[in-house]
C-alpha cells in the first residue's frame, strides 16, 4: 500500500497546476476562451501539447508517453481546479482511449501523433436520446455495402462534437436496439457528406453538438476495432472517463470549498465575520468531510479502472461516481448557501463551479443510475 506519488508524477502535477493557474488565474480569461470559435483557446491546447499532456495516455510506441490512470487523475484534478474548457476528456480520454485500444496500426499512426502534437481533436458520438444512460442502447445503423458502410442515426450531446476534427461514431452492424452485441465503431471525418452538426454551449460553459447522420458513406477502413464487438471497449473507456470525471470534480470541489471558507472569513454581518457562526462552521466542516471522501473515491476510481475483471471494474467505478456526484451536489449547494446572494451572480466564481459540478455529476449517468449498478451487483466487489 503506497499513497505517495512518484517524483515524475509530482512534477507533472505541479507543472499542470502552474499551467492552469497561469491560463485561468483571471476568471475573465475563461470568458474569452469560451468566446473563441471552437469554444476554447487553441493557445492553451498547444501548451497542453507542449507539456506532453495530449500524448500522455498513449504508448510510447504510438508516439505517446505511457501514462496510466494516476497520471490522468492528476491532469483532470488540476483541470477541475481551473474549470478548464479545453476538450481533454473528449479528445484524449474518450477518443484517445478508444483509438489506442481498437485502432489498427495504420489508424494509430495516422492519428495519435497528431493528437499528441495538438493538431487533431476527437469527439465520441455515442449517446442517443432514447438511451439515457444505457451504453448499449444504440439505434444508429451501419449498413454494409460494397464500398464500406452507410451510417444513419442521431447522436446527442456529443461533448465538443462541434469542433472535433474526427468523430468516433458507434453504430449497429447487427442486433436490435438494446442488444449488447452488434455495436461497431467508425472513424468519421465530420466533413463527410450527410453529417449534420449543430453545436451549442452547455450550461457549464463548455461545448457540445447534436450530430445527425443521413446516409453517410464511409469506407471499410473507417471501422475501428472488430465489427459488432465494441461494447466492452466502450464500457471500459467510459469507465476511464468516469475516473477522469471523478478527479475533475474533486479538483472543482476543493477550490469551491476553499473559496467558501475564505468568504466566511471575509464577509462580515452583525459586526463579525460570518465564519464565527457555529452553524456555518459546521456546514463548512461537512464540506471538508465531503471533499475528503470524494478524494478517497477518486483514488479508488483510478485504482479500480485497471481492474482486470470488467464486472468488478464497472461496479467499482459506479460506486466511485455515485459518491463523488452525491458529495459534489451537496458541497455545491452548501457553497452557494453559505455565500448567499453573491454566489448566484455570473461575475463571481462560485456559481460556475457549482454549474460545472452539476453537469459532471450527471455525465455518463447520475447518482441514481450508478447506485442501481451497485445494487444490481449485490454490492461492492471484495478487495483482493
Amino acid at each position: 500500500m503506497d499513497f505517495d506519488l512518484t517524483d515524475e508524477q509530482r512534477m507533472l502535477s505541479d507543472s499542470i497546476r502552474r499551467l492552469v493557474a497561469d491560463a485561468y488565474d483571471d476568471f475573465e480569461k475563461r470568458k474569452t476562451y469560451r468566446a473563441q470559435p471552437r469554444g476554447y483557446a487553441d493557445a492553451n491546447w498547444q501548451k497542453f501539447a507542449e507539456m506532453g499532456l495530449l500524448g500522455l495516455p498513449f504508448s510510447e510506441d504510438d508516439g505517446g508517453f505511457g501514462g496510466g490512470p494516476v497520471e490522468t487523475m492528476l491532469v483532470c484534478e488540476q483541470f477541475g481546479r481551473g474549470l478548464v474548457v479545453e476538450p481533454y476528456l473528449a479528445t484524449v480520454v474518450l477518443g484517445g482511449g478508444l483509438l489506442k485500444r481498437a485502432g489498427s496500426a495504420e489508424q494509430r499512426a495516422e492519428l495519435i501523433p497528431a493528437i499528441a502534437e495538438g493538431s487533431l481533436t476527437l469527439a465520441f458520438a455515442h449517446q442517443e436520446r432514447q438511451a439515457r444512460h444505457d451504453l448499449f442502447d444504440i439505434a444508429t445503423t451501419a449498413t454494409r455495402n460494397a464500398d464500406g458502410y452507410v451510417l444513419n442515426g442521431a447522436k446527442g450531446v456529443v461533448l465538443h462534437g462541434d469542433s472535433a476534427d474526427r468523430l468516433i461514431v458507434s453504430a449497429r452492424t447487427a442486433g436490435a436496439r438494446r442488444d449488447r452485441d452488434g455495436i461497431s465503431l467508425f472513424l468519421l471525418d465530420p466533413a463527410t457528406a450527410g453529417v449534420i452538426r449543430r453545436g451549442y454551449a452547455t450550461q457549464d460553459g463548455l461545448r457540445a453538438a447534436e450530430v445527425v447522420l443521413e446516409n453517410v458513406s464511409v469506407p471499410a477502413s473507417a471501422l475501428l476495432g472488430a465489427e459488432g464487438a465494441a461494447l466492452p471497449l466502450i464500457e471500459q473507456v467510459v469507465d476511464e472517463a468516469q475516473a477522469a470525471i471523478c478527479a475533475e470534480a474533486l479538483g472543482a470541489m476543493e477550490v469551491l470549498r476553499d473559496l467558501t471558507v475564505d468568504y466566511l472569513k471575509q464577509r462580515t454581518q452583525f459586526g463579525q465575520p460570518i465564519g464565527n457562526f457555529q452553524a456555518l462552521q459546521h456546514r463548512a466542516a461537512d464540506m471538508l468531510v465531503a471533499s475528503e471522501q470524494a478524494r478517497s473515491m477518486a483514488m479508488y476510481a483510478a485504482m479500480m479502472v485497471q481492474e482486470a475483471d470488467p464486472a468488478a471494474r464497472r461496479v467499482a467505478l459506479s460506486a466511485a461516481k455515485a459518491l463523488v456526484a452525491k458529495n459534489a451536489d451537496q458541497l455545491g449547494k452548501d457553497a452557494i448557501q453559505l455565500h448567499g446572494g453573491i454566489a448566484v451572480t455570473e461575475e463571481y466564481k462560485a456559481g460556475h463551479y457549482f454549474k460545472r459540478l452539476t453537469m459532471l455529476a450527471g455525465l455518463f449517468g447520475d447518482v441514481d443510475h450508478h447506485l442501481r449498478v451497485v445494487v444490481a451487483a449485490g454490492g461492492l466487489p471484495e478487495a483482493a
Binding site: Q127, R129, Q130, A131, R132, H133, D134, D137, G156, V157, R178, R198, Y200, A201, T202, Q203, D204, A208, E210, T268, Q269, F270, G271, F277, A279, L280, K333, I336, Q337, G340, G341, A343, V344, T345, E346, E347, G351, H352, F354, K355, T358, M359, G362, D366, D368, L371, R372
Partner: protein, 399 residues
Amino acid sequence: MDLRYTPDEIAFRDDLRKFFRSEIPLPIRRKVSEGRALARDDYVTSQRILHAKGLATPNWPVQWGGQDWTPVQRYIYVEELQAAAVPQPLGFNVNMVGPVIATFGSEAQKQRFLPSTANLDIWWAQGFSEPGAGSDLASLKTTARREGEEFIVNGQKTWTTLGQYADWIFCLVRTDSTVKKQAGISFILIDMKTPGITLRPIITIDGGHEVNEVFFDEVRVPAENLVGELNKGWDYAKFLLSNERIGIARIGMTKERLARVKRLAQETPAGEGMVWDDPDFRRRLAWSEIELKALEITQMRVVAAQRGKASDKPDPSSSILKIKGSEIQQASTQLLVDVAGPYAMPRPDRDEEGLNLPSVGPDWADAAAPLFFNYRKVSIYGGSNEIQRNIIAKAFLGL
C-alpha cells in the same frame, strides 16, 4: 376540525380557477409554468386583467381596491393563482409598498400612488439590501440628508429585482447615524428618473437578468416623499416583510410544477420505457409530494390561526413555511433537471424573449437547469434559511 373546503369555499375557488384559466393569456401562463423570464408587458397585461376584476390587491383596504375576504379565501386565491401559473401581481407594488402607503402614508400619497400602483401604471422596485447589509439588513449605509425641502440620497442598493423595469423605488435610508442602527432608518419613495441614479444589471448564474445594483449619487428627493415619520422606517419595513406570510411557501406553484414534472416524466423516453418507469425518480417525486402535502396543511393551520388576529403581527410560523417551502421548491426544480437528463446540458443562444432558437432537446428541457440554478436563491433571499432557524430557536423555542 375539517380540512375540507365548505361548499361556499369550493364555489369561490371554482370561480377563480375559471377566471384565471380563461382570462390570463396562455402564452404568459406557459412562460410562468416553464420557469422562463417574463417580459415587462407580460406582468402589466396580467396584473391589469386581475385588477379590472378586483383581483390584483385583495389584501389592501377595501376603499383602495381590497377585498373583504376570510383568511381561507385569501389562501385559496393565492393557491389558485399559482396553480394556474398566473404571474403574481407585482409583489413590490401589492404586498410591499402599497400596504405601507395605505397604512402609514399621507392622504396625498395614497391619492397619488395607490390607484396607479394597483394597476401597475407605476412599477415599483425595492431598495432595501446593500452590499454590506444582507442578513444584517439594519446595518445599511445609504444616507439621506435633509437640505431644505429635499433629501439628498447617497449610497448603493443591490439585489433590486426587476429594477430595470421600475418607475419608482422605495428605499430604506439612514437619516440618523448617531442612534442605534434600527432607530435611524427612514422609508422614502424615489422616482427612478431622478438625476444621479444609475442602474447596473447583475447577471445571475442561470444567465438571466433579474436583479440589479442601484447607485445613488447626490439624488435629490422631495421631502414629501418620506413615508410616515422620520426614523421610523424600520417599523414600516418589518410591517412590510410580515405581509409575505401567505404564499411565501409557494405551494400552489410547486404543486403545479410537480404535476408538470410528472407529465413530462411520463412522456420522456429513457431506455426501455419512460423516465416515469424509474422507481428511484418516482420515490423522490413522491417524497416531494408528501412533504408538500404536509406543508400545505401546515400553511392552512397558519391561515386558520390568523382568523381574528390583527394582520400586522409577524407570525414566526412563517419561518417554517419559508424553510420547508424553499426546500421543496428546490427539490422540484431538481426533479425537472432529472427528467431532462442529458438534455439539461445544452444552453443554446436565445432570442430577445429568452427563448431557444430553436430548442436542442425537448422544448422545455433547456429551461430546466437554469431554473434549478436560479432557485438556489429561494433559500437565501427574504431571510436565509439560517436566519429562519435563528428566528425559530429564539421566538418559538426561547433559546
